[in-house]
């Protein structure tokens, strides 16, 4: 375990982001330097530098290091998730730069908030202490509330922030209360210490591991409830459609990927640290069934609710709830991790799918943001005849939608295939039912993705003027569209990266 000074080198990416936040805030104050271009360039520079360091650290195999007196763990998983968070932050910045929804006066503040938020997320992925977990969650949560309410002149944006604050603060209160029990069991806030109590090892005389299993299960469920809100899983999803619809579109794109990935990262970190090797049938079966049922409920309700949405932002919100359900299938393979020979392949599949999801979902939101900026609405009607009015944008959108639906030859197909394969590999009736419902849901989701395709290509529009796409928009579309196609056929690099998660 490293002390405070010795650990500093491990958080260089976050330190770079901290400096970026301070620099961008300073730019925002100076009247001369707060042009969109200067702010976007300096924000991008900071994020790119942080990504470069993170990639360099991910390449160097340094195993798993407990840093800052065991408050955080730095390993390949943290570095890999850093790339996801920082990359999403970078793309969000470019979306916002191209969008008309973010006022130039607020652009510097928004950039600072996004950079600070992705910094908090990488601490979520690294947290190995209960206090650190709740602090990182609150950090990201607080910034999300502010980002959701960024359009002050629009009442819907304020209402989105309101929904986010109430659900978010309530959920983190529940998680904190659960953590107090975990602390009570161990007498220490480190997750490792709680695990030792569950193992029945280092208890002090009167405390015994077996007797703590029911309380431990209850506490873990409360912590998972707090995380379930972050990833927008049913029944903690009610905020999600409202927040996604009300927030400015580039921010919605950010919300749909980054906090969700951070929630899954923290969930995987917490469960793997707490439960590795713990042989308690109550905990393993209880959590498996619980997460499985939440997964089924999320994908089914998300897909059913998405079927008759007119607002594309709202439709994509329900689609993201359904995707949280698919991802939870991978987390439900928890008993494999708790066995004597821990097998984290389910968690690796989750990371793989999250990377794929980053590209396809950000892509779909970018096209929506483009349409909102050019045509002023995210109603399905605004997408009419987009196939003729802007063939490039509509074509790339088609790729994203096909990938979200999980059809070949796109990355979405490979990601889903991997996920279903891992679930089936576990064996047992429960997992077969889980995978079967997952496949049924994928078919169900075809209907609403195909509806957008139909509107874009088959429905005529009164307005037939072409919809222009500037060079920046084309560049971003390519940066998102090419990987979505490429990873569909050439996925071995991503697969080997995912193999490093919990390796």
């Amino acid at each position: 375990m490293l002390g405070n000074q010795a650990s500093l080198a491990l958080v260089i990416p976050e330190a770079i982001l901290g400096a970026t936040v301070a620099g961008v805030m300073a730019l925002g104050v100076s009247r001369a330097a707060r042009s969109r271009g200067v702010v976007a360039a300096s924000g991008s520079l900071g994020l790119l530098a942080a990504m470069a360091v993170a990639a360099w650290q991910a390449a160097g195999a340094h195993g798993s290091v407990a840093a800052f007196h065991g408050n955080v763990v730095v390993d390949a998983m943290v570095s890999l998730f850093r790339l996801v968070f920082f990359g999403t932050g970078l793309l969000t910045l470019w979306f916002a730069y191209a969008s008309s929804e973010i006022d130039t006066r607020d652009f510097a503040d928004m950039t600072a908030l996004v950079c600070a938020s992705v910094m908090g997320m990488s601490f979520m992925a690294a947290a190995s202490d209960l206090l650190m977990m709740v602090l990182a969650m609150e950090f990201v949560g607080l910034l999300s509330y502010v980002l959701a309410g960024l359009k002050r002149e629009d009442q819907r944006s304020s209402e989105a922030a309101l929904k986010y604050v109430i659900y978010g603060a309530g959920a983190s209160g529940v998680a904190l209360f659960g953590m107090s029990f975990l602390y009570g069991m161990a007498g220490d806030t480190s997750i490792q210490a709680v695990r030792e109590v569950l193992l029945g090892g280092a208890g002090e005389g009167t405390r015994q591991g077996a007797g703590f299993a029911p309380l431990g299960l209850l506490a873990v469920v409360m912590v998972l409830a707090g995380l379930g809100y972050k990833v927008a899983a049913v029944p903690f999803h009610m905020w999600c459609p409202d927040v996604y619809q009300g927030a400015p579109t580039p921010i919605t794109a950010f919300f749909s990927v980054a906090p969700k990935a951070a929630g899954f990262a923290l969930m995987m970190r917490f469960l793997s640290l707490l439960l590795a090797g713990v042989s308690s049938r109550l905990l393993s079966d209880g959590l498996m069934v619980l997460i499985g049922v939440v997964s089924i409920a999320s994908m089914t309700l998300g897909n059913l609710a998405a079927l008759n949405q007119r607002s594309v932002k709202r439709l994509l919100a329900y689609s993201s709830i359904a995707h949280a359900g698919y991802l939870l299938m991978g987390v439900a393979t928890l008993p494999a991790l708790m066995s004597a020979t821990p097998d984290p392949s389910g968690f690796r599949a989750v990371y793989f799918y999250l990377v794929v999801y980053l590209f396809m979902n950000l892509g779909a939101f970018f096209v929506t943001s483009h349409v909102v900026t050019r045509l002023g609405s995210d109603d399905l009607g605004a997408f009419r005849a987009l196939g003729q009015r802007s063939p490039l944008v509509a074509g790339v959108m088609a790729v994203f939608l096909i990938s979200l639906a999980g059809l070949p030859p796109t990355a979405g197909f490979v990601g889903k295939f991997y996920l279903f394969w891992v679930v089936l590999k576990q064996g047992g009736a429960f997992y077969y039912v889980l995978a079967f419902i997952g496949v049924l849901n994928s078919f169900l989701s075809l209907f609403y993705y195909a509806r957008i395709l139909k509107v874009m290509y088959l429905e005529p529009s009164a307005d037939t003027r072409p919809v222009a796409a500037g060079p920046l928009a084309v560049a971003v579309l390519m940066a998102l569209g090419v990987p979505t196609l490429l990873f569909g056929v050439w996925f071995s690099p991503l697969l080997s990266a995912a193999g490093k998660v919990l390796g």
Binding site: N4, D106, L113, L135, L142, T206
Partner: protein
């Protein structure tokens, strides 16, 4: 019954009563009354902290919550100057009844599990070597700048961005100064 236990029951009872006043519609209809009830609850909880030998945290509870946070609440309540009809009560809906019932079931279940696990638990002996300073500023302060130095520094960043966020949200849109 020892005096310590008696004090605990009085403080705990007052804290719960105050909490009920915050939440129950007949009392909490007026946000200012709710704020005062919350103030009483937080002060009683500070008293419970003293009984638990958490002296530093008890002082901080008074300074941070009773001082800063409650002043902020009261300030906003007065600033918004809500009209009489804005003193909003609760509206009973089936969804809310279900939520309250679920909370009640959950609380009972949790109480059962907690009592089972904590039955016979014995408090640490504070006269033991190394524990005389328990809960004092020296012990807690040392933890804060060693084990928890990193979360502590992260908290300072959190407060900075929270200020930025609060200003950004509450800033007046029209009328000159941005």
């Amino acid at each position: 019954m020892s005096g310590e236990l008696l004090a605990f029951y009085v403080l705990a009872g007052a804290a719960v009563a105050g909490a009920l006043c915050v939440v129950l519609p007949p009392f909490g209809r007026n946000p200012l009354h709710a704020a005062l009830a919350l103030l009483a609850t937080l002060a009683c909880v500070a008293g419970v902290f003293v009984l638990l030998s958490a002296h530093l945290v008890a002082v901080l509870q008074v300074l941070v919550y009773v001082g800063a946070v409650m002043v902020l609440f009261t300030f906003v309540v007065l600033l918004l100057n809500l009209r009489r009809e804005e003193f909003i009560g609760a509206r009973v809906t089936p969804w809310k009844v279900a939520a309250v019932a679920a909370t009640a079931v959950f609380a009972v279940k949790t109480a059962g599990a907690v009592l089972a696990a904590s039955a016979g638990a014995r408090a640490a002996d504070l006269t033991a070597p190394g524990l005389q300073a328990y809960g004092g500023i020296r012990d807690v302060g040392r933890e804060l700048v060693t084990t928890y130095l990193f979360p502590f520094e992260l908290t300072s960043v959190l407060l900075l961005v929270a200020i930025l966020g609060a200003v950004l949200i509450a800033r007046r849109e029209k009328g000159g100064a941005a």
